[in-house]
Amino acid sequence: MIRSLALAALLLASHAVAQTPRVVDIRKSLVRITTTSQEPDYKVPWNPGSISGGVGAGFVIDGGRILTNAHVVSNARFIVVEKEDDPQRYPALVQFVGHDCDLAVLHVLDKGFFQNTRPLVFGGIPAIESPVSVYGYPIGGERLSVTRGIISRIDFQTYTHSGIDSHLTVQLDAAINPGNSGGPVMQDGRVVGVAFQGYSGDVAQNVGYMIPTPVIRRFLKDIAGGHYDGYVDLSITYFKLLNPAERHALGLPDDEQGVLVSSVSSEGSSAGKLRQGDVLLSIDDHPIASDGFVQLDGERVDMSEIVERKFKGDPVKLEVLRDKMKLTVELQLKGNWPYLIQANHYDSPPRFVLFGGLVFQPLSKNFMDAYQVEDLRLRYFYNFFITDEIYREHPEVIVLSNILPDPVNAYLTDLRFQIVDEINSKKIRGLDDVARAFAEKSDYYVIRFVGSVRPAVLERSAVEQARNRIMGNYNVQNEQYVDGSVIR
């Protein structure tokens, strides 16, 4: 089961028989990956989660490694890889994973696996209309499958695995189906992309996407340091300067150059360097057109492509018009954590605190997806977390997410989905604060919420009496899990 690939797509007739020389070559490089994964349940955060299996593809690259999609191996508990022409199954481990670019590198413990394999090499960005072949293990059978098509479009697209990152993406019209994920897309004997997502047949026909080599190379370079830092970002929003009056008012000539900085994230690379109202004229000496595009390697691409290829700590140089004066701004790139609240999270159990049958959880995309919250305040906190810089006061938005009914909380049910502001007069800025506040001895625990909402009052004696009863009744193994990765 390949999660981000559309499942409803019908398998198109493949040109599949392994006869052409190219397919014989690929048999030395293609890997079938079978993953057993465990999806955490954000509604029952103490449960280890439901177990499911899935099949994807991968391929051997230099250094005795296997490249595949992050979504093929996310939340994996056990991974097995197989080669064509070898009946043995080899356990594998995730060495590096980039959820923001949907790529992962696996290593196989048994080095014998790589005998008789041939690492594939990477090509460039294929030309529009040029033919490519896609290899993998899509639904419709057990064995290797190949489909062919041409390059349809090169554009920025959202990577559905994280749900929030967009990077350069290449669209092709070869059939790509669940199970193709992680498989190589080949042209002239080189990898030009990794097949990773598409639309179901009832939305669009013959629309599949691959991760192109600039994104792959960036990932491989990033992990070369032994750690995946991930993408960096200017962390600004900009507005295209297409309106003549606006251009004149800002002191710009009619040269179709420059975009307006409309917001600057106070946690991002540009904080203190750029201001709302600045006009960006060039980036690393590439002039920025009024629609935000730059010329790069002979192609017009979105200006973010310049930053896309950079790494944590790399400098970027911007030419800026501020208050009608030109100046040069240099900044060091880093990530922008607040946006991660709206990204899918993997490989880390949900964090929570249970106290008196009240479940407290930090707000996240996984949380919102699990609970399908309709509460207007909570939806605002989620949707405007970045734009209204809610993270300044609430780096983690702590929600009373659930109430396990028990006499201790019999009158609190209407407080579900309220956002915790204070516990015993201590400001709550994260789940750790919640755990700490409840760990302190106090006769009463007074939980105050954001807005004009009555407080919840719990007596320590009542909570202590209820503790074993609640944990027994609701099969709770742990009262809290606060160690996991914090979105930051």
Binding site: T237, A245, L376, T387, V457
Partner: protein
């Protein structure tokens, strides 16, 4: 994208949202509970036909298609007819029709209160009411009583249907924010080509007015006679002062842990005040969030916020401050603050629509707008958000929905929300096509707290440009002030706009 959306949205008027209209049933299937109306009943009801036309909040210079509503009005003292406000909301033309003979007269709205959902009408010819009998009201209605809902056949014959009073409670009227005393009745009603605005009588006295009917559960929500009496007595004075409110939100104190923490005795009762409306009566008197309200005058408040009414039994204290009292009247609230009892005198008053940041209803008043170079600016109203359809809480722009819902918490000052609703594309708006529903912070450097301020600031462009600042991306845009002025007449002509502003 947004413009497309607008094309699909059918405006839902305030009236239509609150009415559950059942499937019409054949007229001759008379249920055993129906009987011909008595002579007294016959001579005190008239049919009211109202042609209503609401404003189009997406095109604030236009009105939507007119539609008709029919209901029954009750003849009352003073040569007036009592109906629900919904029946005649946004009315262009009101016609009265007698049960016998179908004699007609034109009528006008005398007093209307959308919150209490009541209105009085006055026939243009007073002699129209000459041989009709005014209905008196009765508040003597108890759970278990049988009342009669009056209807009229299409030929004019009045029909009466028995209805059992099942509940007496404070409930939501036509507007979300207002709750008043309501009689809930169980009653099988047939749909008789009029909408459900029907008088309900007890012993030939007006006991209630039907405002909602659910055909599946066969239940009626009716405006209770104490509310009618309050309305009529307020309507007898000029200016109409309406219903007051205390301006607090409260929650129960049943939770024993909360009671011990608040040091409440079991005998105390009391509710926890979790919200105090800014500049509302309670706030002015010094009531604070966190106070426990123990009593209003001599009425003890129980932990659910009810008191004991001599006729209706347990009833929400809201009834005391909205219906039993009149604007200008004082009530004494006994509160517990930090374990100490205090008595605070609160002068109740009505919250006028202009006191809301986002007006919860907009009926009969044309929406204000100001068009600058093809950009349409409006003051936010809930009616605007409602134009997104039944699912408006999810479908309407989320910042605007949030501002509406939490307006009393978010805005300390008296203000309106001015926002760019949409764009009529012109050469002035090139590059701005994608922006819509953005809240305005400033125009030409001036902070904007209402549309009048916006219009004033629009008279003072800076260095030849209008600079408009928003709360969201793109945060600032510019218009060429001279060009906007030159293009104004053309803009009006191309889009057939009757005027570029209505303030």
């Amino acid at each position: 994208m947004k413009l497309l959306l607008i094309g699909f949205c059918v405006a839902l008027g305030f009236v239509r949202l609150t009415l559950a209209e059942p499937e019409p049933t054949p007229k001759d299937e008379r249920t055993p509970k129906e009987e011909p109306a008595s002579q007294e009943q016959k001579s005190s009801v008239v049919r009211v036909n109202s042609t209503n036309q609401a404003f189009d909040f997406f095109r604030p210079w236009s009105k939507l298609a007119p539609f008709s509503r029919r209901g029954l009005g009750a003849v009352i003292d003073g040569g007036k007819i009592l109906v629900t406000a919904e029946l005649v909301a946004n009315s262009n033309y009101i016609e009265l029709e007698k049960s016998d003979g179908g004699e007609k007269s034109i009528a006008t709205v005398d007093v209307i209160d959308y919150e209490a959902n009541l209105a009085t009408l006055r026939p243009t010819h007073p002699e129209f009411l000459e041989n009709l009998q005014a209905l008196q009201t009765t508040t003597d209605v108890k759970t278990g009583d049988t009342l009669s809902v009056l209807q009229m056949e299409s030929n004019g014959t009045p029909v009466s249907t028995k209805a059992l009073v099942t509940t007496v409670e404070v409930g939501r009227y036509a507007i979300e924010d207002s709750g008043y005393l309501m009689f809930r009745l169980s009653c099988p009603l047939q749909f008789r080509e009029n909408s459900f605005t029907l008088p309900i009588v007890k012993d030939n006295k007006l006991a209630a007015f039907l405002m909602r009917y659910d055909s599946r559960s066969q239940t009626v929500d009716a405006i209770a006679s104490p509310v009618i009496e309050h309305f009529l007595s307020a309507a007898a004075q000029v200016p109409y002062k309406g219903f007051p409110r205390a301006g607090i939100g409260f929650s129960p104190t049943r939770d024993p842990q909360l009671r011990r923490y608040l040091k409440l005795q079991d005998s105390d009762g009391g509710v926890y005040v979790n919200q105090v409306e800014r500049n509302g009566p309670a706030a002015k008197a010094g009531i604070k969030e966190g106070d426990v309200l123990l009593a209003i005058d001599d009425k003890q408040v129980d932990p659910d916020g009810d008191y004991l009414h001599p006729i209706y039994g347990k009833l929400s204290i809201t009834h005391l401050t909205t219906t039993e009292a009149y604007p200008g009247q004082k009530v004494v609230m006994t509160i517990l603050r930090n374990g100490v009892r205090e008595k605070i005198s609160v002068e109740l008053f009505r919250r006028s629509l202009s006191d809301y940041v986002v007006e919860p209803y907009s009926v009969g008043v044309p929406p204000r707008y100001y068009i600058l170079g093809g950009l349409i600016f409006q003051e936010l109203t809930r009616q605007y958000l409602r134009e997104w359809g039944n699912n408006w809480l999810k479908d309407a722009p989320q910042r605007l929905v949030y501002y509406d819902r939490f307006q009393s918490e978010l805005f300390p000052e008296k203000r309106k929300i001015v926002f760019l609703s949409q764009i009529l594309p012109t050469r002035d708006t090139v590059g701005y096509e994608q922006i819509s529903n953005l809240v305005v912070k400033k125009l030409n450097g001036q902070r904007i707290l209402n549309l009048d301020q916006f219009a004033q600031a629009a008279a003072h462009p800076e260095e030849g440009y209008h600079k408009i600042e928003f709360e969201d991306d793109p945060h600032e845009i510019y218009l060429d002030a001279n060009q906007v002025e030159q293009d104004a007449a053309q803009l009006q002509k191309i889009y057939s706009l009757p005027a570029l502003q209505r303030l």
